[in-house]
């Protein structure tokens, strides 16, 4: 039956629901700039009705649920794109360091080759001149010094990348621990049929950070979320996290272990994937090309040396010493210090320059690698440039598609101050109106009570 008191209860319910909705709005506004926050919505429903004769009375409003607005599919895509972005970012920054070794067209190994052959050519105009011979030795020393420097720099870039790997693994382990903890709580809430809201936001945010670091696969299963990296090595299963370990392998690089198994080559995304890609593929490739160039060039010059005679009429000795193989560029040294030992002569007479032609021929003859020393170096520079440009382009592309995805997600989950302000004003009016109902019912109740007290006196 309708009554004043039922109106009062409906108004009280409205006040409560509106307070709840104001809470939600206030929380949204408070978190407007919180990264990873998904806006919440107060879901209001009609309270059940009462049937009385022909009349149906509504029973007011009910704040049924506070719902987070999110899109799991988009979040998943963002995580994937973040892995790509993290990887290309790491590759691009590592490659820029490598490119630094080849970034001058007038200095470095390429220019050293020219300077060396020029000094030999200069020697041919006066083969007995000691200053000319000294100039050849100096140019050879600069060349071998720059080879050594390039090898050292590649090594130090590699060791920098190893540090990145170690630090990244530490970060990954910290994140997976936090995610496992949250995952347990989220699972409990979801089993109870509740919206894990804030916890899920935090978890998504952490997964997004994790995606920046390595490739992550998400699987939703009975016992909550499972995260794996590499080719399915577990990071988080339910409320349990699995830490990655690092160890130093035979070549001195840091490898990544999961449950005691080496998964280094399976890591494909994020900072870790990009770093490993450059460290294990690009740098060894550049370094082996440098090593081949150093040892093949040294061998060609040495063989030209031995086909001639030095200033004293003795058979020419090796100009360079080199240990062929992995350490060639680092080991390239000038083997002689006496300028008279340069074998310019082809017949043993001091004034002959007949062997200079053999030395100079190295400049225009293909090494066993297939190109002349200068061209071999130029190819290497072009390769490094291409790889760097490619990584930069991929990074730009994946950054911009990440921006787009984030825009899409923002359109769904982002807090709009305008929207919240509108809601705020609405709820304010609702609250004021409900309060007015309470005062009105109160006044009416007063009137009802006064009805029995005294009959109205005639004026």
């Amino acid at each position: 039956m309708s009554s004043l008191s039922s109106s009062l209860w409906i108004a009280a319910g409205a006040l409560q629901a509106t307070e709840g909705a104001l809470d939600v709005t206030s929380n949204n506004i408070a978190n407007a700039s919180t990264p990873g926050y998904s806006r919440e919505q107060a879901v209001m429903t009609e309270q059940g009705a009462i049937q009385e004769g022909n009349l149906t009375y509504g029973q007011g409003v009910n704040l049924q649920q506070i719902q987070s607005i999110r899109d799991q599919v988009l979040s998943f895509q963002i995580a994937l794109e973040t892995q790509q972005q993290g990887s290309t970012q790491a590759q691009s920054s590592a490659l820029q360091q490598v490119q630094g070794l080849f970034s001058s067209s007038t200095q470095g190994i390429g220019a050293d080759f020219s300077a060396f052959f020029n000094s030999v050519s200069q020697l041919s105009t006066n083969p007995t001149s000691v200053p000319n011979r000294q100039a050849v030795l100096n140019a050879a020393q600069t060349l071998s010094g720059d080879f050594n420097q390039a090898a050292t720099n590649l090594d130090s870039i590699t060791s920098g990348l190893n540090q990145t790997v170690t630090q990244t693994v530490t970060q990954i382990n910290g994140l997976t621990q936090q995610i496992a903890q949250l995952n347990g709580q989220v699972g409990t809430l979801q089993n109870e049929g509740k919206d894990p809201g804030v916890l899920l936001d935090q978890e998504n945010q952490l997964i997004s950070q994790l995606s920046q670091l390595t490739n992550v696969s998400e699987i939703q299963s009975g016992n909550g979320l499972t995260l794996t990296t590499g080719n399915g090595s577990p990071l988080v299963v339910g409320n349990q996290s699995f830490a990655l370990q690092t160890s130093t392998n035979s070549s001195g690089n840091t490898s990544i272990l999961s449950q005691g198994q080496d998964i280094t080559s399976a890591i494909s995304g994020g900072t870790l994937g990009g770093t490993i890609q450059v460290r294990d593929t690009v740098i060894p490739n550049v370094s082996s090309q440098l090593n081949n160039l150093a040892s093949q060039f040294a061998a060609s010059i040495n063989s030209a040396q031995t086909s001639g005679y030095d200033l004293n009429g003795n058979k020419g000795a090796a100009l360079f010493s080199v240990t062929p193989g992995a350490g060639a560029a680092a080991s390239l040294k000038v083997a002689i210090s006496d300028p008279s030992l340069i074998a310019a002569s082809s017949d043993g007479t001091s004034g002959s320059n007949g062997n200079v032609a053999n030395l100079l021929a190295v400049q225009n003859t293909a090494l066993p690698g297939g190109a002349t020393p200068g061209d071999t170096y130029t190819n290497l520079v072009a390769q490094v440039g291409n790889l760097t440009a490619q990584a930069q382009a991929e990074n730009t592309a994946s950054s911009s598609s990440l921006t787009q995805l984030n825009d899409q997600l923002g359109a769904i989950s982002g807090v709009s101050i305008d929207e919240e302000t509108t809601n705020l004003v609405n709820y304010q009016r609702d609250y004021e109106a409900a309060a007015r109902v309470v005062t009105t019912v109160d006044a009416l109740t007063q009137s009802v009570l006064q009805m029995g007290e005294s009959a109205p006196t005639a004026p």
Binding site: S33, L95, Q96, Q99, F102, S103, S105, T106, G110, A111, S114, A115, F117, N118, S121, Q122, S124, T125, N126, P127, T128, S129, D347, T349, S350, G351, S352, N353, G354, A357, L360, G374, D375, Y377, T378, N379, V381, A382, Q383, V384, G385, N386, T388, A389, T403, N406, D407, Q408, L409, G410, A411, G414, V415, S416, I417, D418, E419, T421, T422, V425
Partner: protein, 297 residues
């Protein structure tokens, strides 16, 4: 339709992009190069490295050419002195063979020819930058020494070797004639014919003087043809120099095409980037404080 309410990151992104463009343009303007790193344009950068190598090689060819020019000039002027000394010897020989001179006068002439002989020895031992130029590839000791046991009055200590120097890509030039070929040639033996004249004048044998003078004339002709070698080498140096200089200009032009910045375009680009940057900043400033709250009191 709901749009992403937080568009500040997007605009910020634009601000960063226009800022990066400004930096790139400024770098291009200050270096004058469009390609500063291999990744800017790998192909152009690699071609630039190659081009620099070719330029530096061309520079070296120019240096070689200049060095050789000095050598050839020395050799050519020596040859010219040889020719005039031989002419002088011929006139002495002609004077000695005219039949009116006394033996004493002929012997005086013989002494003059001996003077020419020692001059000739000096010419044959000419050096350039510390190396004897007529000793074949034996350049560290004097190629000719006086030796009375020899018919020519000298013995040759050099060899018959010749040197080649590269003066352009794939182009080498012979840089010397062995002294034995110039001064002791079978087509005209300078040293021997002079000795022959000295002997003839000393003995006063008029017909022998005539024969010796004819032999010197033959040597003169022969040496003159040998001199052509140095003369033409000098000409080649001159033409090679202008060839290399043209080549250098070509290479520099090519290089500019590869890596040089188009200043006008870059300057225009820069002012565009600055405008974009300003616009993005203005948008950011205008949009951030805007919300419904501004209109509610």
């Amino acid at each position: 339709m709901r749009v992403n309410p937080n568009f500040a990151p997007d605009i910020l992104n634009d601000v960063f992009q226009s800022q990066a463009q400004e930096q790139t343009d400024l770098q291009e303007l200050s270096t004058g190069r469009r390609v500063n790193l291999p990744s800017d344009n790998p192909t152009a950068f690699a071609a630039d490295v190659q081009n620099q190598a070719e330029q530096s090689q061309t520079d070296q060819y120019l240096t070689n050419t200049t060095n050789l020019e000095g050598l050839f000039q020395t050799a050519d002027s020596t040859m010219s002195s040889v020719v005039s000394a031989l002419n002088q010897a011929i006139s002495l020989g002609t004077e000695g063979s005219n039949g009116t001179l006394t033996l004493a006068q002929q012997q005086a002439l013989a002494q003059q020819v001996q003077g020419i002989q020692s001059q000739m020895l000096q010419y044959a031992n000419t050096s350039y930058e510390g190396s004897y130029i007529f000793g074949g590839t034996e350049t560290t000791k004097p190629p000719f020494v006086a030796d009375v046991t020899q018919v020519a009055g000298v013995s040759y200590q050099g060899n018959a070797g010749v040197n080649q120097v590269e003066i352009a890509n794939g182009r080498s030039i012979q840089t010397n004639l062995p002294g034995s070929q110039i001064f002791l040639g079978s087509g005209g033996n300078v040293m021997a014919s002079l000795q022959q004249l000295v002997n003839a004048l000393s003995s006063g044998n008029t017909s022998a003087i005539g024969t010796a003078t004819t032999a010197i004339s033959a040597s003169l002709n022969y040496v003159s043809t040998q001199r052509v070698f140095y003369g033409s080498a000098l000409d080649q140096m001159n033409s090679n120099q202008s060839y290399l200089q043209t080549e250098e200009v070509n290479l520099q032009t090519q290089d500019s095409g590869l890596v040089a910045a188009d200043m006008t375009a870059v300057a225009t680009d820069l002012s565009q980037a600055t405008t974009t940057h300003d616009a993005a900043l203005a948008a950011l400033a205008k949009v951030i404080p805007n919300s419904l709250l501004n209109y509610l009191q």
